[in-house]
Amino acid sequence: MASKPQRVHQFAGTSVPGSMKKRRTMTTDCSMSDGFVKYADYLNGLNEKRERVVKASRDVTMNSKKVIFQVHRISKHNKDEVLEKAEKDLASVTDLYMSRLVKELQGTDFWKLRRAYSPGVQEYVEAATLCKFCKSGTLLSLTELNASLLQLSDPSVEPLQINVLDYLLGLGDLTGELMRLAIGRISDGDLEYAKRICQFVRDIYRELSLLVPHMDDDTEMKKKMETMLQSVLKIENGQAQSWL
């Protein structure tokens, strides 16, 4: 970003990018220059918005990671308090950071800027589903997740709803975290819990494998599927070793 105002300075001879609106280069004829003033405004607005979305997305990522770490602090005896704290953290991610995304993404921005916010949303899905699984052993559905986002936006505006693709990509990452959790449980001697995780991860893997070819852009998902399969194998191997 820093280099761009400089460019303006260098070429158009204006010191402040905002003042460009009024300036007109000597040789440019009128209608052309008027048109480009509009395009410049549009591009500036879009770039600024994208920048804000990227920042919000990064904050969501960072803080969702913290929630995930918190969940991993779980052990046999402290389950309830660890999860309680994790859920509280997750709620604050929703209130503080997801709400910023919600504000930015209206109408067509939702798809136009998807590349800018998708990583954050995926991480958020991962954190939310991990919490839910640890608490109740079930998969947090997209509907439930989106319902929790509804309260963030003004009823008059279109609410941000996580789309299917980001949800699925988030689930792809979830299995990696569950693998770590399962390995931890196994070394803790809690084989029953590890077994449940294993079944859950297998279910997700199987369901996702059916969906991959249908996704808009499946390259990212294909990569995740490979990682996911390795996670499944690791849990299975871990279980097998513990029996020996």
């Binding site: 480009f36 395009y39 410049a40 798809w111 859950f200 297998r202 279910d203 969906l211 996704m215 194998l233």
Partner: protein, 299 residues
């Protein structure tokens, strides 16, 4: 990946789906023949999973492979079935869009080949007749595209990538045509009007428009050279003025480090080549005019 398969085959009694990267594709064919139809009728575009009341009969009839024994994974399955039909729907929309885009591509090709005759020193009005007809064809295609997109409001940019590069070519051609007709730049609003586009549903993305202009500029050096060959010695001066203005206008934009920026960076080479042609014409005394203003441009 390679290392993974031996591990798989030796453990296939545990693994739910051996050879997971190829199997689901074939499996899917048979499943999707029977399964999504029912779901297609039931799911609307915005509500992902079908209501829970449907859960029981669906899961029992469509999942012979697993007997998980807890309702947790049954509802998981339920949700994913909903996703599958949603993704199927968007896949169908994408296919329809692609078929329109293919026609667009061929219209662009016809128009481009028509415009190429401009380099063969034929009279301009005659050359422009055919390409002009193609604008009407394109307009109709964009109308069809708009019809498809009306079914999924707000998702313009989900599918944008599918017609993006064609639209950029379209802009470059109609802008070139417009320059040949009028000697001026085709503005964004004019381009939208020509193609029957309307920002409320399917508009012309400004970045696509600008990229199209860069493509048009690429055509200019060749045009200038051939016009000079054909004896039009004033053409380089006009084109140079036009391109200089265009380049100056582009410099008002704060571009990101993306495709458009790259294309814009290429524009200066077009400008330089046109300058060289103009210089050659001038130095040989082929221009009728003799103005101090032009000499200043050279300096």
């Amino acid at each position: 990946m390679r290392a993974l398969f031996p591990a798989l085959s030796s453990r296939c009694h545990v693994s739910p789906c051996p050879n997971p990267l190829t199997k689901p594709l074939t499996l899917l064919r048979s499943v999707s023949d029977t399964l999504p139809y029912r779901l297609l009728c039931s799911s609307s575009a915005s509500a992902p999973p079908p209501p829970p009341s449907m859960a029981d009969d669906n899961t029992s009839s469509t999942s012979p492979s697993t007997a998980p024994g807890n309702n947790g994974s049954a509802s998981v399955e339920k949700q994913f079935e909903g996703f599958r039909s949603l993704l199927d729907e968007s896949g169908t929309i994408r296919e329809r869009i692609r078929s329109v885009v293919m026609e667009m591509e061929s219209a662009v090709r016809v128009m481009h080949s028509g415009l190429l005759l401009v380099h063969q020193s034929l009279p301009v009005p005659e050359v422009l007749e055919k390409p002009r007809v193609q604008i009407g064809v394109l307009k109709e295609l964009y109308r069809r595209l708009a019809d498809i997109l009306r079914e999924c409001p707000g998702q313009y940019y989900r599918y944008h990538g599918d017609w993006r590069s064609e639209t950029q070519s379209v802009v470059s051609l109609i802008a070139f045509l417009h320059y040949l007709e009028t000697g001026t730049l085709l503005l964004h609003a004019e381009a939208e009007e020509k193609l029957g586009l309307d920002a409320s549903n399917v508009g012309l993305d400004i970045e696509d428009y600008l990229t199209g202009l860069c493509f048009m500029s690429n055509e200019m050096p060749r045009y200038v050279v051939n016009q000079v060959t054909a004896g039009d010695y004033d053409c380089p001066r006009k084109v140079l003025k036009f391109l200089t203005n265009l380049h100056a206008s582009f410099r008002m934009l704060n571009l990101r480090n993306d495709f458009l920026r790259k294309k814009f960076d290429g524009m200066k080479y077009d400008l330089r080549r046109v300058e060289e042609v103009y210089y050659d014409v001038k130095i040989r005394g082929l221009t009728a005019e003799d103005t101090t203003k032009d000499q200043k441009t050279e300096a």
